[in-house]
């Protein structure tokens, strides 16, 4: 990675969940507009990284540092991390019964706009842009009027995450297995959305095992997480190699 200050700087991040230390020491940089793919066996700490950076109350940070555009993320409550430009696409997005999708996203967007000193969008203006975004993602408009994720299939929930990504326009997005549960069109929508937002400077950390999508995403780097540490750093070649041989053969950090 080159040039100025990285958008995200993580240094020696250590995280505990319950009694268990899940991240032992993670350091990484992500530049604006770049994309890092995170791979690793189940339980290696991929989801933990995202949830800890986003401020989930069950994930206790034991030490280390995380700066987003120079802002100390770990000192902020979860909603302020989001307002600083951090977006996490959930592996299993929960439902919010009775709360209509468009109200939910507009409330979120206006909370973020307010923190940036921008005027709120009214329901009409918001709906116009929400409809456009939904159309671009191949989502039916009706999804905006339905309660958040209530009765949505796994794939619909993931598309809904994608819709929020498009409308909230974060500076850094962590996508945790966004491809799981999605059909071919869904995956294509992910790739296109990521490409659009990267061109506007959004940085991405993508957790995925799906090589075909990873290739289409054109990552700047591929990292392999193992037992809470970054065990390998590479490019698409690493992703291809993992896809071919699996994680089991690589458990001992190779020092590669």
């Amino acid at each position: 990675m080159t040039s100025p200050e990285p958008l995200l700087q993580v240094r020696d991040l250590r995280v505990q969940v319950g009694e268990r230390t899940v991240l032992h020491s993670v350091s990484l940089d992500v530049n604006a507009g770049s994309l890092v793919v995170l791979m690793g066996a189940n339980g290696s700490g991929k989801s933990t990284l995202g949830l800890a950076l986003a401020g989930h109350p069950a994930y206790q940070v034991l030490g280390g540092q995380a700066l987003l555009a120079g802002k100390d993320l770990l000192a902020l409550p979860a909603h302020e991390r989001a307002r600083a430009g951090l977006f996490l696409s959930f592996q299993s997005p929960p439902d919010v019964p009775g709360v209509k999708n468009n109200l939910f996203i507009r409330t979120a967007l206006n909370a973020q706009r307010e923190s940036r000193g921008q005027p709120p969008l009214d329901a009409f203006d918001f709906l116009t842009s929400a409809k456009q975004a939904a159309k671009a993602l191949g989502l039916p408009e009706a999804m905006l009027g339905r309660p958040v994720n209530e009765g949505f299939s796994g794939g619909e929930r993931k598309r809904n995450e994608l819709l929020q990504l498009a409308l909230l326009q974060p500076r850094l997005a962590l996508l945790d297995e966004i491809d799981s549960g999605m059909d071919v069109d869904g995956v294509r929508a992910v790739v296109e959305q990521v490409r659009r937002q990267r061109a506007q400077g959004t940085a991405f950390i993508v957790v995925s095992h799906y090589l075909q999508m990873i290739e289409q995403l054109e990552p700047d780097a591929v990292l392999r997480l193992d037992q809470g540490c970054i065990a390998e750093t590479g490019d698409l070649g690493l992703a291809r190699h993992i896809a071919e041989t699996g994680f089991a053969s690589r458990t001992a950090p190779a020092g590669a």
Partner: protein
């Protein structure tokens, strides 16, 4: 009713991290706490036959009504306070209350709003009820009750054109005594319960609605109640009659100024729906709930009942209860007409030290009668919220059906929710269904909202709004907005 163990009791568990914001919520002052400086023309405290004669004389009532009041009073003297609800109530000294209070400047009743004491109008403004503007804009006729005397009735003419009578109860007694005499006490008899008997003896004023045969009431009818003079129990009496094929939607909302002493409110509402008539009765109740120790709130002991007398008649109760120190209230439907139906949609919020014991009764008498109950209880702080419902199917109620949905939401570690669904079925073929859920505002849902930039407080308001959506949808539009704002204010800071 006996007082058995609750069918389901959910008690919140200790949950340390939520404690600090909860304390903030508990310390939140009541927003509508103020006292209007108007001299009151009140009776001295105390209650005997002389008090009742004095009330009746002040109101220039016909003999039948005085006799009716006195009969109720004699009945009341023989009755005991009900004790079956899950409530802790400090003893009430009924002789220490004053049973009549009228704002003094109202002695010469105003003919229009222009003549209304500006201070009264100011009070409504503070409460967010700009009577003249809002009523006109929303097309809502408002019969405002300030203490015990009705002032400023609007839209009376438009209603009169279609034959609808919408006026204060006192006005009805003077101008339509035959209707009052025919229907008063036919749904809630004098001796129905302790508070209904007391109300029957001393009621001061209230609203009266009569919808003639075949008339769809052209506007929502709205009435704002509030308690103002200190130490004055309020005893409203409301009577709504819908003739064959008519329909009406009635809205009631209220707030009260801050008080140090508990104030008693014991209203009676009677609804009568004839063949094919529909009455919808909606309430937003936001009376002073007491301070963080539960001191000073309103005692709300209300008897509301509708008689679906005619074939295919329909009665729907919708209520949003956020106020009062103690709420004791069971809007009920007696389904007598063949094919008649009753509905009850309720949101009850209790915070601080509030106690709410509320629910409904659906009494199925006629054939093919149906009822539906949707109850949403929300508890926060140290509050306890009980749903108490009775579904009774009489032996003659062939083909009767009921569906009950009863959901509780707990916010914070110290509150409780309790469900008492009684079913008393006299028929083997009756269909009675009951669903109940208890949920907490889950950490995952809260975090999901926060991750999108919505803080915990706003997220709570969103989730509570979602939880209540099924009931809010039943409210007339402008009322739903008001109710949503009220829910948000009532629970501000309850989660962090």
């Amino acid at each position: 009713m006996a007082s058995p163990e609750p069918i389901s009791t959910a008690q919140a568990l200790a949950d340390k991290p939520q404690e600090a914001p909860l304390e903030q919520a508990l310390q939140r002052p009541y927003q509508h706490g103020f006292v209007t400086d108007i001299e009151s023309d009140s009776l001295p405290p105390g209650l005997d036959e002389g008090t009742i004669r004095a009330i009746s004389r002040k109101k220039k009532e016909p003999q039948f009504l005085l006799d009716w009041r006195l009969a109720a009073f004699r009945r009341w003297q023989t009755m005991a306070l009900p004790d079956w609800a899950r409530l802790k109530i400090a003893p009430i000294d009924f002789q220490a209350l004053s049973y009549y209070s009228a704002p003094k400047s109202m002695k010469d009743k105003p003919k229009s709003l222009d003549e209304v004491d500006p201070k009264l109008l100011e009070t409504y403004e503070k409460l967010g009820v700009p009577l003249h503007e809002r009523a006109a804009l929303a097309g809502v006729a408002v019969d405002a009750v300030f203490d015990s005397v009705s002032v400023g009735t609007t839209f009376r003419k438009q209603l009169a054109d279609v034959g609808v009578i919408f006026c204060s109860f006192s006005h009805a007694v003077q101008n339509h005594p035959e209707l009052v005499e025919k229907y008063l006490g036919t749904v809630v008899p004098q001796g129905d319960n302790f508070y209904a008997a007391l109300n029957s003896a001393v009621f001061s004023d209230g609203s009266f609605v009569y919808i003639p045969k075949g008339v769809k009431c052209p506007m929502e009818l709205s009435s704002y109640f509030r308690i103002n003079a200190q130490n004055t129990g309020q005893f409203e009496r409301t009577l709504i009659i819908a003739e064959e094929g008519s329909s009406v939607s009635y809205l009631e909302g209220c707030t009260a100024p801050q008080r140090d002493e508990n104030q008693l409110h014991a209203a009676v509402v009677e609804l009568i729906a004839h063949d094919d008539a529909f009455i919808k009765y909606s309430t937003v109740q936001n009376w002073y709930p007491g301070d963080e120790h539960g001191v000073g709130g309103i005692y709300n002991f209300v008897t509301k009942r509708g008689l679906a007398a005619g074939k295919r008649s329909r009665i729907a109760w919708t209520q949003i209860e956020t106020g009062s120190a103690i709420t004791w209230k069971y809007p009920s439907c007696v389904l007598r007409g063949e094919g008649s139906s009753g509905e009850f949609f309720s949101i009850a919020v209790s915070n601080h030290r509030q106690q709410a014991d509320t629910g409904t009764k659906m009494i199925h008498l006629g054939k093919n009668t149906t009822s539906r109950i949707v109850s949403k209880g929300i508890s926060a702080g140290h509050a306890h919220n009980a749903y108490r419902g009775l579904v009774r199917i009489n032996p003659g109620a062939e083909g009767a059906r009921n569906h009950t949905q009863c959901d509780s939401l707990l916010i914070g570690p110290h509150c409780g929710a309790h469900t008492f669904p009684y079913v008393d079925s006299g028929r083997a073929d009756a269909v009675v269904e009951h669903e109940a859920t208890t949920t907490r505002i889950s950490a995952e849902r809260l975090f999901y909202c926060e991750q999108r930039g919505i803080d915990a407080q706003e997220a709570t308001a969103l989730i509570v709004g979602g939880f209540c959506q099924a009931v809010l949808e039943e409210l007339p539009m402008e009322f739903a907005l008001e109710a949503k704002a009220l829910l948000a204010v009532s629970l501000e800071g309850a989660v962090g």
